[in-house]
């Protein structure tokens, strides 16, 4: 099984503060291989140029939303295996359902705690390991 500490993360959020927070929390979880993208367009370019293991994405972003990024990832044969964890302030049930139906591996509403992020990342990795 791949430990989350070995994974390469891509954190996508238009707010640099939130990217730093998620990066900091991942580092506390022992995951130091983290890159950032400020929107879906930049994220998609990074995903196609480099190899990543895990995507953590906001939804409400300029240029390309998290939903569009999620759909683009799931529509790409080379990327669709990637787990995408949505971390967003969007708390509407329809958004949560849409994210799940679009292939999101998890959904976290802001504000969140370190324990929540850690729990979701671990559960997603366990699920992936079980299905592999």
């Amino acid at each position: 099984m791949t430990h989350s500490t070995d994974l390469k993360f891509l954190v996508v959020d238009d707010f640099s503060t939130m990217r730093r927070i998620v990066r900091g929390l991942l580092k506390e979880m022992g995951c130091s291989n983290v890159e950032e993208a400020e929107d879906g367009v930049v994220a998609l370019a990074r995903l196609k140029a480099q190899s990543f293991d895990f995507v953590i994405s906001d939804i409400n972003m300029p240029n390309m939303t998290g939903f569009d990024l999620l759909k683009a990832i799931k529509a790409d044969a080379a990327l669709k295996h990637l787990p995408v964890l949505m971390v967003t302030a969007e708390a509407r049930k329809e958004d949560i359902i849409l994210a799940a139906q679009s292939g999101a591996a998890g959904y976290i509403v802001k504000p969140f705690t370190k324990a929540t992020l850690e729990d979701k990342v671990q559960k997603i990795m366990l699920k992936l390991a079980a299905t592999a």
């Binding site: 959020d13 707010f15 503060t17 939130m18 730093r20 927070i21 900091g24 929390l25 506390e28 409400n60 302030a89 708390a91 509407r92 049930k93 329809e94 949560i96 359902i97 799940a100 959904y107 976290i108 509403v109 802001k110 504000p111 969140f112 705690t113 370190k114 929540t116």
Partner: protein, 214 residues
Amino acid sequence: MSSYQALNDMTTKEVVAPPSASPEVFQQLGQITRQLHDTLTELGVMPQLRNAAEGLPDARSRLNFIVRKTGEAAETVLNSVDQAKLEHTRIVDTTRAIAESILADPVRAVASGSLMNFVCEVEAATQRIDAHLTDIMLAQDFHDLTGQIIAKVVALAGQLEDSLVKLLLQAAPAEQPGRLEANLLNGPVIDPEGGNDVVTNQGEVDDLLESLGF
């Protein structure tokens, strides 16, 4: 001349002496109001104005949320800093005490367990300080949340402004409307959030996803 200057000129000209309260004036005012209402309805301004007005209580609650969120963040940061500084002071005091006991009698300091106790205390204190630093880091999430809300309120203010400008254009003398730049009228569209169909915490998100089999 800027559009705002033109708007100022226009509104200045609108300020005239109040009419006498004769029935003819009220009748004329009624006709103008009806004409204005019909014109505004045809232009689609009224629904926009109504939407903007309906959004105002929500804008107030959003701004109150910002006040609350930034207040909570400040409180969290200050409390965590106080706690971390307290831990730091304890480490400094303990370090001084252990240094004195080592200087006085190094063998006894080790044999009595004082040195080992000190090491354990420092380790525990640094873990607590690290937790405080994490709390400070997490408290910064207000920037993201309040930033999104401010953007929505600014969009709402823009919509309201556009509606009012259109209203002024219709109320102005016939020769005035063309003086305003067209781009002043292009307002953002507000996407109002649903009321009851939202979750309030992570537990509700998990329950919802679980109920759907995810």
